[in-house]
Amino acid sequence: MNILVCISNVPDTTSKINFKDDNKSFDTNGVQFIINPNDEFGLTRAIWLQQKSGAKVTVVTVGDASCEPILRKCLAIGADQAIRIDAIPEDGYFVASQLASLCAKEKYDLIITGRESIDYNGAMVGGMLASILSIPYVANCIQLDIDGTSASLQREIDGGKESLSATLPLVLGAQKGLVEESDLIIPNMRGIMQARQKPLTVETPSDVEGQTTIQNFEKPQAKGPVKLVDAANVDTLIELLQNEAKVL
């Protein structure tokens, strides 16, 4: 089985978000980049399939050379090879189209994306990729079992979960639940050494255009200070919520 795991390079969850160039671009100064957490859940699930049934795991990112450290980390975690499509990922449709071009060249049985990235939170690449390829997509995926070419999966929905079945190839949007936080693989020294020898190829992007562009960014307005209510006076809190905030 051939598995493709799509990886997004995102600012660490604790990063302070700032913009530069007249609020036109993200300020990477002092920001540490990580594997998008949802993608990492997906990668871990792929590694389990590799360990269990010898699946070959390829990781791919659409990005410039600054994304290579996280691809090396994916290799250290256990991926067999990495591909970097050398383009700036400015729009979800553009990224999905680049990934679709790769999938047209190489046959993948299972394509894993993250539920959403934590930078644009678009939750769009997986669904778009599947639609471009005309194969099924399962969003918010919390369980996957594969038997031959059939897959049974679960999707988290509002207030519960849904069980689905489909035949491979398919695309899924990974999130916590597919594997647990405690299952995430921390690369060991051997993994890190091996990762240096594994192939990381750079491919030129295919000729497609994005559909949206970002004009500028802004940060939310600063919030006023908290109104503190004495612990012995919960009545006051209720009254404030009723009459001032008008939410009760």
Partner: protein, 316 residues
């Protein structure tokens, strides 16, 4: 030209998110002087859409297929989008809305905007404000594409009434050759979900253990609220995954969010930031949540919450 909105429902009843999407679509139809076309599935009585601005309602009966089949729903909506020559299509930000949106966009040859938080600031070209970096920032995005699909963030626009006399039509439930099938659904029908709730009561590690969750549940019950929790609480197995909120969990955009024994880590706050009013109850006055909250009580949850429940019961 028209605006098409996909109206979500549950057990044949239109959801609040459905009415919000209709209200938003109506506002766009008003500014662009076009018609608002609503698409519903399995609704017995669509008359409520007459007071939320629909000019036409296509109700689609899915017959024996009682689950949300993303491919068939998508194909059915695309059929109407094309027939009505829609320039703007609006879906909600529910789990199903965010599932449908990107697929719909590709199949309808539209540009896709998720996390939209306001009406477009321009239609030529289509320009709209979206949240990004998990609510730590916003951006203005533009598309020159002839058609757009918008996923509207929950509780970002609100529900606006406008009387119309909608024409009632029946839409076709289109077949799909996708191998994807929903086989079963497991959903608590008696509990309000985080996505639908006006009020969310959330518990953190400060509650010490699952045996104390009656505090959260009882408070949620008097308020008619949904229950949520911080990430470590679900990682520890004190509460189910589906309650985990934050950057790596579910987003919350309720009117009122009450956090009890939650420290307010940046990853937690990111996911709940778009709630309108935030209340924190925490024994540590230095807890970061106090910087993000509108109202707060510095105190022991085990003392404060029972009083709060009692007082709220008394005024009901």
């Amino acid at each position: 030209m028209s605006v098409v909105v996909y109206i979500e429902s549950q057990n044949g009843i239109i959801k609040k998110a459905g009415l919000e999407v209709a209200s938003y679509g109506r506002a766009i139809a008003n500014s662009t002087k076009t018609a608002l076309i609503a698409v519903t599935f399995n609704i017995e009585d669509t008359s409520i859409l007459n007071s939320h601005g629909a000019d036409k309602v296509y109700n689609i009966n899915t017959a024996e297929d009682s689950f949300f089949n993303v491919d068939r729903y998508c194909a059915s909506i695309v059929g109407i989008v094309e027939q009505e020559n829609a320039k703007v299509v609006v879906v909600s930000a529910s789990a199903d809305g965010r599932y449908l949106g990107p697929i719909l966009a590709v199949r309808a040859q539209a540009a896709y905007f998720s996390n939209v938080v306001a009406l477009p600031s321009s239609y030529e070209p289509f320009t709209v404000k979206r949240s990004c970096y998990t609510n730590k920032a916003f951006n203005e995005s533009v598309s020159e594409q002839g058609r757009v699909v918008v996923s509207l963030s929950s509780n970002a626009f609100g529900i606006v009434e406008q009387e119309t006399a909608a024409e009632q039509l029946t839409g076709d439930y289109i077949e799909s050759n996708s191998s994807l099938k929903v086989t079963s659904i497991d959903k608590a029908t008696d509990k309000i979900t985080i996505a639908d709730a006006d009020i969310v009561v959330s518990g953190g590690r400060g509650l010490k253990g699952p045996e104390n969750w009656h505090l959260i549940e009882d408070l949620a019950e008097v308020l008619g609220a949904a229950t949520a929790c911080s990430k470590p609480v679900s990682d520890l197995g004190w509460r189910p995954h589906s309650e985990h909120v934050g950057q790596t969990g579910k987003p919350v955009a309720s009117n009122l969010y009450i956090a009890i024994g939650v420290s307010g880590a940046i990853q937690h706050l990111a996911g709940i930031n778009s709630s309108k009013v935030k209340v924190v109850i925490n024994s540590d006055p230095e807890a970061p949540f106090f910087k993000a909250a509108d109202y707060g009580i510095v105190g022991d949850a085990f003392e404060v919450v029972p009083q709060l429940i009692e007082k709220l019961k008394a005024i009901q």
